[in-house]
């Protein structure tokens, strides 16, 4: 029996997670990942990878919780296995600090991380310019390790990889029975009428192995995330900014803000700088449409627009994408390609 040919566009964390879930769940599918960039050159690779959701305005909260919980549980099992080091997944504790007391004191994901609580007075003294804070333990998932780990898992179930830049989904549909679009900020060009825009982020890698806890300012522009071989400090949130080059002023601003939060950074050596474009969108797009190609209806499942929450929601949105695919193959079994 001929297998259903599925192609996943994009090899970042969303693309590979989706590809793995489909390949492992649907043995009657042969899955190919096609992308212009692979690890270590994807947006995911530079991200610190701290699992920390933001609330999207138009998606029911229980769906957002499900997306996060699914990802958290999946990564937690890896963190607690011998594969943790290979996959680059581990627990990370720290502080989420606010310059002003927020209205929403308990985010929707508070019960999904570990030990969520307000910071004590003694802890707040560590941050004299902030008035409120939350402490919790979450996970960190470093894509420089995790993406190759996912790719191995993908190939182990027969997944195929193609290095090619996709510019036309209709053309792609000529050769496949289903398309999963995980092209991140690339969807801006790939999909018509697009609401994806870049949110430029710059960050520095510093050598500061004595830092173990993360610190994130709730404004999202100052963070310190200790990693395996370096500490990620950042950041910026520049909407509609496509520049991939490092901006020296941004670096200076990052160093200054982060050193104010963590004075020991002043003696840390900067090892490198990196820029990535978050696939910004009002809400992640996880839904299915059909492409009409040569008399066939080819399901096109979108799974993009995760903003700065790609890693955080990767496994959960991948499951939704898998279910959308499974449902569409059931509703409209693929017809023979010419």
């Amino acid at each position: 029996m001929q297998r259903v040919k599925v192609v996943v566009v994009g090899a970042g964390v969303v693309g590979l997670s989706t590809a793995v879930r489909i390949a492992e769940a649907l043995p009657y599918c042969s899955v190919t990942v096609i992308a212009e960039k692979f690890s270590p050159n994807t947006t995911s690779d530079g991200a610190a990878g701290i699992l920390l959701p933001t609330e999207f305005p138009d998606i029911p909260l229980d769906r957002q919780q499900r997306w996060f919980k699914e990802t958290f549980d999946h990564l937690l099992a890896i963190a607690y296995s011998p594969q943790a080091a290979d996959a680059g997944v581990y627990l990370s504790s720290g502080f989420h600090i606010f310059k002003d007391v927020p209205c929403e004191k308990k985010p929707f994901w508070a019960d999904l991380v570990f030990g969520f609580r307000n910071m004590s007075d003694k802890e707040m003294k560590l941050f004299p310019n902030h008035k409120f804070g939350q402490a919790f333990t979450t996970l960190k998932c470093e894509c420089l390790s995790y993406l190759p780990w996912l790719e191995k898992r993908f190939r182990a179930v027969g997944g195929q990889i193609l290095q090619e830049k996709v510019t036309d989904l209709h053309k792609l549909a000529l050769n496949y029975d289903a398309i999963i679009n995980c092209s991140g900020v690339g969807s801006h060009f790939l999909v018509k009428n697009e609401e994806v825009y870049p949110v430029r982020g710059q960050m520095l890698m510093v050598n500061a192995p004595w830092l173990k806890n993360f610190v994130r300012d709730a404004d999202g522009k100052t963070y310190i995330y200790p990693g395996i071989r370096y500490v990620n400090i950042g950041g910026t949130r520049q909407v509609d900014d496509w520049r991939m080059e490092v901006d020296k002023e941004d670096s200076e601003g990052i160093l200054e803000r982060c050193s104010r939060l963590e004075p020991s950074l002043r003696v840390a050596q900067v090892m490198g700088e990196w820029v990535g474009l978050r696939p910004g969108r009002a809400n992640p797009r996880v839904e299915r449409e059909y492409l009409h190609v040569q008399g066939r209806q080819v399901p096109l499942v979108h799974n993009y627009g995760h903003g700065g929450c790609g890693i955080t929601l990767s496994w959960g949105t991948a499951l939704d994408a898998l279910n959308l695919l499974r449902q569409s193959l059931f509703d409209k079994p693929p017809q023979a390609r010419l």
Binding site: L76, A79, Y80, S81, P82, Q83, A84, A85, D86, G88, V89, Y90, L91, S92, S93, F114, G115, R117, M119, S120, K122, E123, L126, A135, T137, P209, W210, L211, K212, N213, P226, I228, R229, P263, S264, R266, V267
Partner: protein, 346 residues
């Protein structure tokens, strides 16, 4: 006034520091000398993981709880200073695991964010049914000791590498006060049946993805509790607590047991690279000996201040004890009418 300190581990060096801070401007001249047969990086303090964590319960030794807290607050005050990295001080969070429900530890108010572990967290640690989470300080001996030595050298404290045979030996060279910070080998200077070595062995591992310390308390086993403590470069994995064992050689049997237990507790260790083993002798005692003693030698008498027996919590308690030792020295100085009423001009 000549003060001679025996021992250059964290206790000896920090005691020298406290004495300098309290008395250098009130006693002129004040000579401080440190005598030791080993210096950093070969002292017991150098090999210790450096986790600020007292034993669970102080067994009524409330002084020790007070000294522990004093040390924590003192170290915490340096965290935002430009010297924190040079001192080897940083924050780290972690898990204290127990095999049964037990009362809160003596130090719960000293550390940051102390709380019980939730059931979901305990699920990560099969075999442990109760425990706590908190954020505490790390104080790495192999960084802190060189920092202390530099601090002291800059203030003209002299160091002598030599093994001292008796307190009298130093008194004979002109010491007015001898401070005994000789740790586990204090018995060589004065018999103390309460002081015993508690041998510990640790495995140093390269596992930089581990960002939390884990200490365990197995109330059914005999004090050999597993712990995993990440440092600034390597992770220290232990442990054993062998009372009466003087053997400074690494034991393969201990290594195997420590490693197996640690990998059960933290499966991600299985793929970590082992760098080496280290063995040290904790100066274990029912309680810290921190007191004065007048020693008579013929018609001559001199003062000794004992500051030893800090078990596995030397780094944890050092500052509180150093300050207390300085206070005892103050008593001696007052009795000898040596203290200037106001600060003398320098």
């Amino acid at each position: 006034m000549k003060v001679c300190i025996i021992g250059a581990g964290v206790i000896g060096l920090s005691t020298a520091q406290s004495i300098y801070q309290h008395f250098h401007s009130r006693v002129t001249p004040l000579t401080i000398e440190v005598y030791a047969d080993v210096f950093t990086p070969l002292t017991t303090s150098d090999g210790a993981a450096g986790l600020w964590q007292p034993y669970l319960y102080d067994k009524g030794n409330v002084q020790e709880t007070k000294w522990n807290k004093e040390t924590f607050d003192y170290l915490l005050s340096f965290l935002s200073s430009p010297d924190s990295v040079k001192m080897g001080i940083f924050l780290q969070s972690g898990y204290i695991l127990c095999t049964e429900t037990v009362p809160d530890p003596s130090y719960k108010d000293a550390v940051l964010g102390f709380r019980q572990l939730t059931k979901r967290e305990l699920d990560m640690f099969p075999g442990y049914s109760y425990g706590w989470f908190n954020t505490t300080l790390m104080i790495e001996g192999k960084t802190y000791l060189p920092w202390l030595m530099d601090w002291l050298k800059q203030r003209n404290v002299k160091f002598h590498q030599r093994k001292i045979g008796s307190f009298k030996e130093l008194a004979d060279t002109g010491a007015d006060v001898v401070i005994n910070c000789s740790g586990v080998r204090s018995g060589d200077l004065q018999l103390d049946p309460e002081l015993k070595p508690a041998r510990g062995q640790i495995i140093k591992v390269d596992a930089p993805w581990i960002k939390h310390w884990i200490t365990t308390n197995n109330f059914s086993s005999s004090g050999n509790s597993t712990y995993i403590i990440p440092g600034s470069r390597l992770v220290s994995v232990g442990g054993v607590f062998q009372v009466g064992n003087w053997n400074l050689q690494n034991s393969f049997v201990d290594h195997k047991r420590i490693w197996e237990d640690a990998c059960k507790l933290e499966p991600s260790l299985q793929h970590a690279q082992i760098v080496g083993d280290w063995t040290g002798l904790r100066p274990a005692r029912s309680k810290v000996r921190l007191e004065r003693e007048t020693i008579r030698s013929g018609s001559h008498a001199f003062e000794v201040i004992h500051n030893y027996g800090h078990g596995g919590f030397g780094l944890t308690i050092h500052r509180g004890c150093a300050e207390e030792a300085a206070r005892l020295l103050g008593q001696i100085l007052e009795q000898k009418s040596l203290l200037a009423l106001s600060k003398s001009s320098l």
